[in-house]
């Protein structure tokens, strides 16, 4: 009985890991190591890599900058319909990428909801890097939100109370207490979101199109490569997986430390203050 259960757990874990890792391994087995870095040679790949990095960085920064305070508010305020809001925030998760793309067009496109207003301002989003940024932000932000709200909810309320009785303004409470204490959770959420954003494909191609050096991200490049040269496509994919893995590892293992330390140093009190 005992042995049975132990075996059961072990098997389940083995199956799960095998299932998740086998396909990834398979890709590598398909790719001659030469191609792997050969892929980097491709102008297409390099351009795409740059676009991906640039757009992900901007999108992620935006998500952090806006998402963090928003998550803080949603985590601390208790208002009616809060549950609904929290659910709505996760809605984009359900959308098939194509639908997400259409949705973005319907909202920010030339003939979209805000098309007129944006036009008036002389802003045109579709087919620009701005569009890529929006698409990436749209698909990744729900992931960050989830994690960030949870992280802020986990911050011990009495520490906040303590800060207030010590005369700290809400802003100070946020910067000096909530943020540093939530840093761990925020870091993890940020990693997850960034990862998801990097892999974004469907929404981008519909909302931003695909133009080398402008809106063609790595996933788009991979896709267009399939049509031409399957092996290069695989090589780029493998490359992509490596990048992703490195990203996850760094962010997960060291990210939150950095994250935390930033705030500590940045907002650490000085007796003179």
């Amino acid at each position: 009985m005992r042995a049975l259960f132990a075996a059961l757990l072990a098997v389940a874990t083995a199956v799960a890991l095998a299932f998740l890792l086998l396909p990834i391994a398979a890709i590598f087995l398909r790719v001659p190591p030469g191609d792997l870095f050969g892929a980097l040679g491709h102008g297409v790949t390099r351009d795409a890599l740059l676009v991906s990095i640039k757009t992900s960085a901007v999108a992620h920064a935006a998500v952090l900058l806006i998402g963090t305070p928003a998550a803080y508010l949603l985590a601390r305020r208790r208002f009616r319909g809060r549950g609904v809001v929290l659910t709505l925030i996760e809605l984009p998760l359900v959308l098939p990428p194509a639908v997400a793309g259409i949705a973005l067009l319907a909202a920010f496109g030339r003939v979209g909801l805000l098309g007129g207003e944006l036009d008036a301002l002389g802003i045109q989003i579709p087919f620009t890097q701005a569009a890529v940024v929006l698409a990436v932000a749209f698909v990744e932000s729900p992931f960050y939100f989830r994690g960030a709200i949870a992280a802020f909810e986990a911050v011990d309320g009495t520490l906040v109370d303590a800060a207030r009785t010590l005369g700290a303004s809400p802003a100070r409470v946020f910067l000096r207490v909530a943020l540093p204490l939530a840093a761990g959770g925020l870091g993890a959420a940020s990693a997850l979101a960034l990862a998801r954003g990097l892999g974004e494909f469907g929404a981008t191609i519909i909302f931003a199109g695909s133009l080398q050096g402008v809106t063609q991200t790595l996933p788009l490049a991979i896709y267009s490569q399939f049509e031409q040269d399957f092996d290069t496509a695989l090589a780029i994919s493998a490359l992509f997986i490596i990048v992703g893995a490195l990203l996850l590892v760094t962010l997960k293992l060291y990210g939150w430390l950095r994250f935390a330390s930033i705030f500590r140093s940045r907002f650490a009190p000085s007796t003179s203050s």
Binding site: D161, A163, T165, A168, T271
Partner: protein
């Protein structure tokens, strides 16, 4: 000299907290069982909980007044709050904790003998040290009122004694209105000028420790103060005495007046033990088997079916008491107070 005046009603889950008290530059302790509303009271004073109605004033200015729609934010009230588990900021050093609200740390750290810990993180401190840091932090902004929520609860009794003494001296020096929450009557007696017993959100009694010991307002307070509380029926007895029936066969007498259901209160140290009942009319006798003997300091607590007696180790020796033996517990009718049953 600032004084704190509180008169508020705060709705809690199970009941409303009704608190009215005024404190000069003195320490007032709030004691009571868990869930009585002690912490809630402090939170209301600090502005962390909003009373349904009432007022909170400190010296001249009004912190809260439901009628005048005044409700100063916690950060605008000048209170020093020491939280139940200290609530130190785990990510900040001791010094950063203390100076969080502004002000300088070194003086306080020296005074509380923790200057050598200035750079340490709270997680590296012992319970006693944490408590001092919490105190220093609460005092750093020179608050006009000090609120302490079970400052000793998190300490092991070994450090507890020391810390209690230090805290006592500190409170005396500061001479501010200080509200100290505890559920330990001894802590309260040791630290406070006046003690309030809070039960289910109501102040049962508020007075000097000796007062509560001497004339407890109700059985609960008496029990809290360490007395034996026996339930029974009171009826008029011989000349100015009240006859009190514990049960069918056991009867005792009290000089207090009472009729019907009542509670008889007698302190363990007013109960003497003997092998045989000395025949003395004014004395109450209860015969019973010794359940347990516990030495505390130079005294021994002897637990009997009805009550507990506390006698000197010396006389316990002399009587050579053992668990299971039958003894007679005696106490004067004048020391048997009668209170209306809860």
């Amino acid at each position: 000299m600032a004084s704190l005046r509180v008169d508020l009603s705060l709705p809690l889950r199970a009941f409303d907290l009704e608190l009215a008290l005024e404190a000069g530059p003195e320490t007032v302790a709030l004691v009571g069982p868990s869930g009585a509303g002690k912490t809630s009271a402090l939170r209301a004073i600090a502005g962390l909980a909003r009373p349904a109605r009432g007022t909170v004033e400190c010296g001249g200015d009004v912190w809260f007044d439901s009628e005048r729609r005044i409700d100063r934010r916690p950060e605008e009230r000048s209170v020093g709050f020491v939280f139940q588990e200290y609530a130190l900021f785990p990510h900040l050093s001791v010094e950063q904790n203390v100076t969080f609200g502004g002000g300088r740390a070194d003086g306080l750290l020296r005074r509380l003998r923790i200057e050598h810990l200035a750079r340490a993180k709270p997680s590296e401190l012992s319970g006693g040290e944490r408590q001092r840091v919490a105190l220093a932090r609460a005092l750093a902004r020179e608050p006009r009122v000090l609120l302490l929520d079970e400052p000793m609860a998190a300490l092991d009794p070994h450090t507890r004694g020391k810390v209690r003494a230090e805290l006592h001296d500190l409170l005396r020096e500061l001479a501010l209105p200080a509200i100290l929450v505890t559920h330990d009557f001894e802590d309260a007696a040791a630290l406070a000028d006046r003690v309030g017993v809070l039960v289910d959100g109501r102040l049962r009694q508020l007075g000097a420790p000796a007062e509560l010991l001497g004339s407890p307002a109700d059985p609960f307070v008496a029990e809290f103060a360490g007395a034996n509380v026996l339930d029974g029926i009171a009826e008029s007895g011989p000349v100015g005495l009240t006859r009190f029936h514990l049960d069918a066969e056991h009867v005792v007498y009290s000089t207090d007046e009472a009729r019907g259901r009542a509670a008889l209160v007698v302190y363990p140290w007013d109960v003497s033990l003997a092998r045989l009942a000395a025949d003395d009319s004014a004395l109450n006798h209860l015969r019973g088997e010794i359940v347990s003997l516990v030495q505390v300091g130079n005294r021994v607590r002897v637990r009997l079916p009805f009550l507990t007696a506390e006698i000197t180790a010396a006389s316990a020796q002399r009587l050579a008491l053992r668990p299971g033996e039958t003894v007679v517990a005696s106490f004067k009718a004048t020391q048997a107070r009668l209170l209306p049953a809860d």
